[in-house]
Every structure is written in C-alpha cells, then in structure tokens.
C-alpha cells in the first residue's frame, strides 16, 4: 500500500531489440491517425473521430506487457489501444469507414470498437465506462490469473465510475490496472480547472492501492511501469493505478482546433513527442543506425497503405449486407 503517489522509474534500460517493435507500433498508430484524419476529410470516415496523436507511448507501453487472457477496456479515443492490442489496421480502418470487413462489421465506428477475441472488451463512448468494464472483466480474469486494464482520461476521474470502481476493485481485491491518460484536457477544459486537489494519482492512493505517476511520453518508462503494475495486480491479486502524464496533440474531436491551449504549452509538449523522443533515444543512446529507423518507418507506411487500400475495397455496411438480430441465442 502506498500512502502517497510515487513517480515511476524512467525505465531507461529498454534495449533496442525490445524497443524497436514498440516504436513500430507507435509509428503505426500515428500513421493510422493521420490517415483517418485524411479519410475523414474525404468523407470516408463518418460522424466524428477522436485522435490519439501524442499519447502512443501509453497504450503501446501498457499493452506490450499483457498476455493472452488479459483484458483491456478503452475510450472513444481508442484507436491507439486497439492497434496496441493487435487489432489489424485493416479491420480497424474498415470499421471507421463503416465497411463490412470492419472489426465489428462496420456497426460501431470510431467510438465503439470491440474485439473480445483479442481481449478488447470495448471502447467506451461515454466518459468513464471503461473503468467499470475493466473492473468487471477483472472478476473473470481473477479466476484465470489474468488482469484487466482500464484506459481512461483525466476527465473520467470526476465521474462516479472512477470513485465507485476504484473502491469496488480494492474491497473485492480485483486484478485491475487503472491507467489514467492525463492529457491535461477533458474535452475543451483544462484538467486543473475542474479537478479538485489537482493530483489524480493521489486520489487513487487514497483508495488504498499502489499508485504512481509515469512519464506517458517515454515508451521505456510506460512499459517498465506497466510490467511492474501488471505483475503486482496479477500476483496480489488487486488493483494498481498508473497516471500517465501525456498530451493530446490535437483537439478533442475532429471539429475542435483546440485554440484554448496556450501556444507555449503546445510547443513544449510537441518537443516531447513520444515517437521523436524514442527515435532520438534509439539513435543516440543505443546507436541504432538512422537507415534502420528510416526503413522501419517506410515499412510501416507500406503496411498501412496496403491496409487502407484493402479496407476501402470492402463493401459498406448496409441493409443489404447487415441484418441485425435483437438478441443473442
């Protein structure tokens, strides 16, 4: 038990062979989001989108430490978590474009991605929903030595879901890893303006669970903190809390230019872009040749291009292709 939140170790020892697949996954997420933005403007992606740019190191770091039989519940800003968990880019892109080959047949769209076979309980369109879903998934996981991860934002820490489920998970000794992606803004509103006490990790510590802040833009730090947190949740079993300090590089949703943010704040965080930081660490500290990194990026770009092409060629979900039934039998 932790009386006050600690800061997780920087995890600077992530070696190149382990780090490169994680960088690759972050690059895939970033490229995917940029493609979705483009396809939204072309009218291929519908409704709205909430892009994950800037937060890639959180979901990639956490999911890199999971194993079969573990569960993840994510948010409407969930493309990153889905890709981090291994949902194929083609199936995710097709879902966002409402195609029959989408991971959910084009029924859900950007905010409602579910892939239970890969452990993705779902992405939750209402703030905080992922917290309870993971708490419940932990009731299942506890039987098999698994864990459940809840991803949610700073905004969710003011919902009843947060307070009720943290308490529930502690008193029921559930193996949940609560991961708050504190990106400093709940929709258009700065976290500090609407969060009493101002310290999210401290709130979790008050419920009597181990709670830490971690640099959410450093993949070595998030993966190291995740390894420790997941091992603790699994072996105890019991909940653990991680507050990943990160930044939403774009607006809340596709219609938000995010002009409410101070320019210097944005500039400072853009200098801490998680992908650029990791590339610099690999090239500088670990001596990975620049050509190898460039090849990795080119490889991701090719993979994504092919995935999008295939997704675009699939038929749209329509009354001709989809006959929903009200009930499971």
């Amino acid at each position: 038990m932790t009386a006050a939140p600690e800061t997780a170790p920087a995890g600077a020892h992530l070696a190149a062979d382990a780090a490169l697949p994680l960088l690759r996954r972050m690059l895939l997420i970033r490229s995917f989001e940029l493609e979705m933005q483009r396809l939204f403007l072309k009218g291929e992606v519908h409704g709205t989108t909430h892009l994950y740019n800037g937060q890639e190191a959180v979901s990639v770091g956490i999911c890199s430490q999971l194993r079969d039989g573990d569960y993840v519940a994510a948010t409407y800003r969930g493309h990153g978590a889905a890709l981090a968990l291994g949902v194929p880019a083609e199936a995710l892109a097709a879902e966002l474009m409402g195609r029959t080959s989408g991971v959910d047949g084009g029924r859900g769209g950007s905010m409602n991605v579910i892939d239970i076979r890969r452990g993705l309980v779902g992405c939750f369109g209402i703030v905080g929903g992922s917290i309870a879903a993971a708490t419940g998934a932990a009731l299942s996981a506890k039987r098999t030595g698994g864990v459940a991860v809840a991803f949610f934002g700073d905004g969710a820490t003011n919902q009843a879901y947060f307070h009720e489920c943290l308490n529930f998970a502690v008193v029921r000794e559930l193996p949940v890893v609560f991961v708050c992606e504190n990106n400093l803004y709940g929709e258009f509103t700065a976290m500090q303006r609407v969060t009493a006490g101002g310290d999210i990790a401290a709130r979790a510590a008050a419920y009597g669970m181990p709670s830490r802040k971690v640099d959410g833009n450093a993949i070595a730090a998030t993966s190291a903190a995740a390894a420790e947190a997941i091992a603790h949740a699994r072996s105890t079993p019991g909940p653990v809390f991680l507050e990943a300090l990160t930044y939403r590089q774009l607006g809340h949703s596709k219609s938000d230019p995010a002009r409410y943010r101070p320019a210097d704040e944005h500039e400072a965080w853009m200098k801490r872009d998680p992908i650029e930081l990791e590339k610099a660490r690999l090239a500088g500290d670990l001596g990975v040749p620049a050509e190898q990194l460039a090849e990795l990026e080119a490889d991701v770009a090719r993979e994504l291009e092919q995935a999008i092409e295939r997704a675009l060629s699939a038929p749209a979900n329509s009354p001709e292709t989809d006959r929903p039934t009200e009930y499971a039998t």
Binding site: A134, G136, S140, Y161, F168, A328
Partner: protein, 334 residues
C-alpha cells in the same frame, strides 16, 4: 413446457432463492452480488447462498449501483454470468449507462460476437408506503431499449422458472420482483424449461381480456371472480415479460373477447400498458370493440397509505371499470 405439480406450496421469495441456488449449483460461471445479499437481502429473497457457494461467487458490495452494474457488464462480456441485486428498482437510475448504453448494445455493436448474459434483479412497485422514491415500477424506462429483456413474474412458480430462464439467457435481463408479492404463496410447479417472452392466460374468459402484470395479475383475478357473479366472463392474461412481448398471445385472447383492458399501476403516458394497447391497436383493430387502460396517476407514488391505496388500481377498481365499459354493453345487448 415441462411443468409438473407437486403437492406443496412455496412463497414467491422461495422461488427466487431456489432459482438462485439451482443456477449457482449448475453453472460455475454464475455469480451473485449486491447490497446485503450475503445475509439474504433486505427482502429475504436470497438466504443461504453465501456459505455454500463462497465469497468469490456470492458477495456483498459497496452501495455503488453504477459500479455493480458496470462490473456485471464487464464480467458478462468476459465469460461470467453475473446476477446483481439492485435493492429497489428506483435505484437503477444510477446504473443506466451500464445497462442501457453498454449491456443492451454490445451484442449489436460487437457484430453479434459478444453476448451479455447478465441479470439485474430488483424489488419494484407500490403498495408498501415506501414513498415516491422506493415505489415506482421502472419497466417503462427499459421498455424502449432494444437488446434488453424485461421479466415481471406474478406467481411463485414463475418467479423460479423465469429467473432460471433469465440466468441461463444469453442477454441482459431486467428481472422485476414486485414488493407485494414476496410473501405470496402459490403452488410449487417445477418448470425447468420456461422461456422468456411467453405470456400465459391465467383465467379463461370470453367477454373481456384483462392484461395485468405482477401484483396486478392477482387484482385482475379477484376482479374476474367478482365479475363472474354478474355473468361477465373475464379472461386474465399475464404477459410475464414485457420485452420481448408475447403479442401473439394477447392478440389470440382479444380475437376471442374483442375487448381489452390493460391494468398498469404506473402513469399512462409512456407506460407499458399504453404500449400494449398501441400494439394491439396497430395489429388487431379489426378484432377490437373496445380497449382501454386503468392506470396510476401522473404524480409520484404517495407515501400515506390512504393516498397510496387511492393511487393504485385494485380488484374493485378493475371490476368497476369493466362493469362500466364492457359490463354495461353486456347487459344492454343481453
């Protein structure tokens, strides 16, 4: 149906307890939790489960309806079959996101890959002077939500057979137990193969069909007995489930009697009673000479016993309205 009668009776609450015990025993995936359920619950409907099945399968929770139902959703989509007791139906307002946005929609949203087999049991209905915030029937809130099933038993044997069917069902089920039924005794009819969405004619008649739910079924039966003395033959139909609704059974009865009274202890507008009338009007107007609703008032359920009695339909008011509408016609045409 595989119903066989034995020579014993049981209370409604015993039906609940036995269904829980049988389902916990037959399926390891079934878990049961809620506020104060380990000692048997405030309505004493679930005694004797905590000890044999252990604290990992039957347990007390914090007073956190949102966490309870939200966790049930998460547990259900990952392979468990949770049964949650929400102490009073009115408290389900606190859990609506999990129930309406998650549990009811995941089957559809997951492209029919992820069923949500959970049951929310809850004590509902007026008549006990619990006041406005512990007496409402919440069924109408859920009625317009595709994906949910809504079960409303009226008899002890149905409480058992329908709860077993609900727990074995692959879908989220709201199981509503009327507070004025827990102590009701009735025949023990073991039916291990009951199905959700099937109505039952509980008294046959030829002049008017009375559709009622839960406690209202017993009021309707009393009224039918009373009306029989006047030569009015009332058929009483218990839908048992509101969603899916066995409209075929209702239509068959109305085709026979040509008159339909629905008794709903809640308010008319948006209520389940009006929904039934609307469906009959849409699909069977040719068969209808008269159809109407006896319902509660458009204000919250009163606390004072005298005012609460006045608020609720009962056997006398059901018989009176039938006499006034169908009864008068029967006499004048006779």
């Amino acid at each position: 149906m595989s119903a066989t009668a034995t020579d014993t009776e049981m209370e409604f609450r015993t039906g609940i307890a036995e269904a829980m015990a049988e389902c916990l025993a037959e399926d390891e995936r079934v878990i049961f939790y809620g506020e104060d359920v380990a000692p048997g619950g405030v309505f004493k409907a679930t005694p004797g489960l905590h000890e044999p099945f252990g604290d990992e399968r039957v347990f007390d929770t914090p007073i956190s309806e949102l966490a309870m139902v939200g966790a049930a959703f998460g547990a259900a989509v990952t392979g468990l079959r949770p049964v949650v007791e929400v102490m009073f139906g009115d408290f389900m307002t606190l859990a609506m996101d999990s129930l309406v946005n998650q549990a009811a929609k995941w089957w559809y949203l997951s492209n029919e890959t992820t069923p949500v087999p959970l049951v929310i049991r809850s004590a509902v209905g007026a008549g006990g002077s619990f006041g406005a915030i512990h007496s409402q029937n919440p069924a109408p809130w859920f009625l317009s939500t595709p994906g949910l099933k809504i079960v409303c038993p009226a008899f002890p044997a149905d409480a058992k057979s329908l709860l077993k069917a609900a727990i074995r069902d692959q879908n989220p089920v709201v199981f509503l137990e009327h507070k004025r039924l827990y102590s009701l005794k009735g025949p023990r009819l073991e039916d291990d193969g009951d199905t959700l969405g099937t109505a039952r004619v509980v008294r046959e008649g030829s002049d008017v069909t009375i559709v009622a739910l839960q406690r209202g079924v017993h009021d309707a039966l009393a009224a039918a007995e009373d009306l029989a003395a006047d030569g009015i033959s009332a058929e009483v139909l218990d839908p048992r489930c509101l969603r899916p609704l066995d409209l075929d059974a209702i239509m068959r009865s109305v085709e026979k009697t040509n008159r339909l009274l629905v008794v709903d202890e809640g308010d008319a507008l948006g209520g389940w009673g009006n929904a039934v009338l609307g469906a009959v009007a849409q699909h069977g107007l040719d068969h209808v000479d008269d159809l109407w609703l006896l319902h509660g008032a458009p204000y919250p359920v009163p606390y004072s016993p005298a005012s609460e009695r006045e608020y609720l339909p009962n056997g006398e008011s059901i018989a009176a309205t039938v006499r006034e509408r169908a009864g008068v016609r029967v006499t004048t045409t006779a």
